[in-house]
Symmetry: D2
Subunit: 390 residues, 4 copies
């Protein structure tokens, strides 16, 4: 603590769901961790002045902007945090990089591969620190799963099955919010939910080789109402608007290392509010995890004594589990917001020490390639290799 800390001045774009989650993380990270970089909550940015002003007060930002270009121009900002809708990511990230700002960007990185490539080039050229906000990597149980796999506890990986199940738009009268418009998001459950699952798969299993996928939109038109979500696109027209993104995305995969996978993302799985889950089977054991019981990792070892074999339910809230020791005594649970605190802690150390944090924009690009390969496959009805997309 005696070492002089680097102050890292943050400019946050977006003040709704992700704006709140990121803001909270900046607020809390010095309380729990001791990163070499200390975030300074300098400015938050949104298009609606009344809204962003109120958010600045509430969330603890020193100032606000209504134009992200102005935010980027400010010389009292070191890091641009992009919580805007997907169609704004590329333009903002590239401009930020050119202005010499470090960049944290929400997922999915971009609307398409072209954008993603440009974004990666921009941050690499500028030499700034870049990170994509795949927060679920930062659940202690997930980090510990990674450690177990890296130590060879599962041996060669055979299977991953992952699904991300939600149900928030099952009501056909749920309005046509920005997350249901292709021009704003690029895709629906695919970029929103499957993006998380495949990032976790890349993190834990390895790189995808090829995929075969399908998509479905169950409710094809919805009431056009006031749009929620930061920087939302305005929707013109009559009473019902077309839903032009997927309600569900399903795909099969082969990985470079020989593993096979099956993935499903949907917003039409009644009873699942936020069911982000995976199971991985290897030659020596298995692990499984569910965000709805996020502190628990289930682990099966084929090397346990016969008669005593079975999945163990491990509460990953002990000092031995990554990030967990910073919080509370064993089994005094942490929650959703702590994934962001952990991630921001990593980012702060990365910026302060010039160490490249992960997941980076390279990860964002690689994830984008998988997303796009699945989309092409869904359109063409054939297997698509990642190489073909990249």
């Amino acid at each position: 603590m005696s070492k002089a800390k680097k102050q890292i001045r943050v400019g946050m774009i977006g003040y709704k769901f992700m704006g709140k989650a990121h803001s909270h993380a900046y607020r809390d990270v010095p309380f729990f961790f001791d990163p070499d970089g200390v975030p300074v909550m300098q400015a938050i940015c949104g298009r609606d002045e009344a809204g962003v002003k109120a958010a600045a007060d509430k969330l603890g930002w020193a100032s606000y902007e209504t134009d992200w270009r102005k935010l980027i121009e400010r010389d009292d900002i070191d890091l641009i945090d992009i919580g805007a809708p997907n169609n704004a990511h590329a333009e903002i990230a590239i401009a930020a990089a050119k202005a010499g700002k470090h960049v944290l960007c929400e997922k999915p990185l971009a609307m398409n591969m072209e954008e993603a490539r440009s974004m990666l080039e921009a941050v690499q050229e500028a030499g700034v620190v870049h990170m994509i906000c795949h927060n679920y990597r930062f659940v202690p149980a997930v980090q510990y799963a990674k450690k177990l796999i890296d130590e060879g506890r599962l041996g060669k990986i055979y299977h991953i099955r992952a699904n991300y199940l939600q149900d928030w738009i099952m009501d056909p009268n749920f309005p046509l919010v920005w997350r249901l418009k292709k021009e704003v998001c690029g895709s629906g459950s695919h970029g929103d939910l499957a993006a998380h699952s495949l990032d976790l798969a890349r993190y834990l299993v390895g790189e995808f080789k090829e995929v075969s996928g399908m998509m479905e939109t169950f409710v094809k038109a919805r009431p056009v109402g006031e749009m929620s979500g930061g920087l939302s696109a305005s929707v013109k027209g009559g009473d019902l608007g077309e839903v032009d993104v997927d309600d569900a995305s399903i795909f099969m995969a082969r990985f470079e290392n020989g593993a096979v996978g099956v993935f499903e993302a949907t917003r039409f799985a009644g009873g699942h509010r936020n069911g982000n889950r995976f199971e991985i089977n290897g030659e020596k054991g298995s692990i499984r995890w569910d965000m709805e019981q996020m502190n628990t990792l289930e682990y099966y070892s084929a090397e346990d004594e016969p008669g005593l074999q079975g999945f163990r339910s491990i509460n990953c809230q002990e000092a031995v589990h990554p990030f967990a020791g910073a919080y509370w005594p064993p089994a005094h649970l942490i929650g959703y917001e702590h994934t962001f605190i952990n991630l921001i802690s990593e980012l702060m150390n990365g910026i302060a020490n010039g160490v490249k944090p992960a997941p980076s924009f390279e990860d964002g690009l690689n994830n984008q390639a998988v997303l796009e390969a699945v989309q092409r496959s869904a359109e063409s009805g054939r297997w698509v290799s990642i190489a073909e997309v990249k």
Copy 2:
């Protein structure tokens, strides 16, 4: 009970795993149920005389045969029950039908569509009662799930995700048993496990429209040892033999009614001894089930009061649940063997009353079509419609 019961004299082919399971069901069905047909355990058949003789004693059969043709010729047999390996199903079933015997056949019905078609024609021509032994339909919780869906409790179906996970051949030194030889089985996990999942999907969701699948064999050669399983093929040759069936089978599906599905069957999911599971999501609710907790049905109603919505864990062992009332008081569990007792009870009533039981050979043929469409898709890398296969 005063009504005269029809005696139904059974000839059972196979005396290992399925032979034991079916024998037990014949033995117990009159104890728990009061079907209009009463099974008489007339003869059991297997190629090894010492083995089949011992089995006849142990399992309670009045006589035995070592040649299934002789069994079929006997005029004191009304029903032929086929528990032989898959490559023997067609020949036996057709001969039995021609001899005027009713036929119960283990799943999958046949090695291919051609065989399956011939079998169905044979039983239809002969006018005998026919049934395929998809025993998992007969779990009370599954039957109750069917009832809920038929009553419209889930509304329009959107999703099914089903997997059947086992781990019994993960050890690379596990021998090359008959279940791992294509000439005997036709396929591996696909016909053994996925066959159950897709039958449940047809039962609960409806007919498949098209599928896209993949298969994988993780351990490609295994020690050639003594083969286990009834009527097993002999294996010649050296120390290691080729595994020419799939260890895992994965496929995506579209159903005629617009639902989408994802399926996975594997024998390489460590920690899952017999994990036969599905979840179905509809517009009004969801159900899920796992054979490893077979008496429990989980049910979510989107029509439950807000704040009180969540999956209910229903123990389907009450008189209101199909078949359950025949056994014990509520929550006094039944097990695997009761699925066969229930199925045989249905078959006995079918034969006695001339009512066609389900699942029949039509179901067997339809299931075969899905199995074959997935295989073709796995080979070709494209979607295959059921119509194309049929």
Copy 3:
């Protein structure tokens, strides 16, 4: 199998719930096991001739009697199985022993310590084999728990907490059946449910030293209707009759070995149809079990590697688990009725080989002492030692 088997001719008293469960076990034991004694289902006995005749047909008994004294007099009976209500146990068991019959008796052994002592004396004097039907000891998961404890896997035992929760009489209009009359049962949930829990505690933890308990009757009067249950007492009088047994029984305990325990039995725990559960904590680990998921044993080892500690969910359906290998492949579940099959298998071996099976009438007496100590404590409001009762 070549060894000549001893035929053991059984006379069963009671033909309702327990009559059915025991009958089924006699029927199935030779199918699954190869005990040295083979049960012969000679005669069943009940007071209502029409009822017992029908039961004999249905359950597979060769003959029937309407007077248990006649049954005992028959010289073609080797074993008397007492499934009559509690108040008939002593008279029947003593008469049977005097007639030189082996005796299996349902639990609780007796109405009080005096009866229990006389019963034990009678069987000991007669030199017959005696067993009390605590079937839950014979769940493979429970047997395996016993093995783990005996091997020292838990080390010194600190705690047991056990409860047996049911809800079948919560409706105040549920009639005043014989299980709610003290003259017939001696007690309510106490002798019916707590008897099982404390037997499991004695089996797994050791002998009780002292107890302090309480009892409660929530619904004190109930409609007098037709009584269900075998050999039911007739009830005279008006519309409502007094419930003179406990609806719930709770007690704390100290064991001879220093462990402490807490027990609860109730018929008023809504949502629990048959929730018989315990958890045991020792210095090196813990186990827990629930009859509603009877095939699963949960096991925690404090000696597991830090970071990987957690309860394992073990499906006790493998050959390594006691009794389980006689049935089906791993995780192909067994159910409630198999507890009786296992127990009868043990009894058949005991009778055939002159080996004393457990639990015996000694166990029944020891259990009775605990039951009675709790009752005395509930009446007096003080701790009662087992020594004082014995």
Copy 4:
């Protein structure tokens, strides 16, 4: 938000576990809630200057004190928050009240009834706001349970069974920390863990009438090492010191409304890191909850349709659930620390608006009476009424 907020200047005593938890809550409460009182983190107090200075920096306090008397004398403090060990509660709280400060006190309120009475008198005489920090009341699932009970959803309550299971001192070499010394704590698991369970019972079921309890110390001597925990007592002497508090506390209870209860608290339940659980059964339904899955409330309704009855697993993270709407979208979990944020939010509103928050020192006194009644019962071996203690 336009209304002028009352600034509430806080002085916190204790900077270890509870000091951190409370500090974090003061920090975060304005971020998530909009209470009428805004906490100002004025000063933190501890005896070790280096420690408390570092804590002030880390936890975000503007200043620090090493003598709680000085803290209370400061006129820039409105609220004294007592996170000191139990034996210091009374003296500090009474002094704070006399100085006109509002008081928040950790549980258990006091070392004995006399202290508790004096504390309540002091705050009542001073007319200050007082609250006891039973944070588990503030879990949304628990608050919702209270709402369901108050609405009559369970009907008349029959049962509560609650246990609080931990395992952190099972290792006999774990040192003799202050939580194991009677002079500092008054009791062990009893005041630490059972205090929470009985507070929840009073909150949800109603007032206790009488109790019968027992206590046990499994490891009677432990290494005397450096003591952890704020304001820890120094321990003199040799290598091993006596553990003079309970390792486990068990008791039975009768409530004023006729319900019965059974309670168990222990630090010797291997595998339970923080298992705070209860189940309540009423005539119309049941609820159960476990802090290790804190966001889930399980609910059984006996009024659900037959065949569809079973415990529902409700994720209490929706806007309809108390406090939950302040955080994240449905099923985006909150954790342990949020119980404190919710409680502090309630306290801030209470102080700002002059509304008495609950649980208050009255609750603390009533809880103390139950704690003491159990202790007296454990010593005397008889039932002790709450009236007798009060």
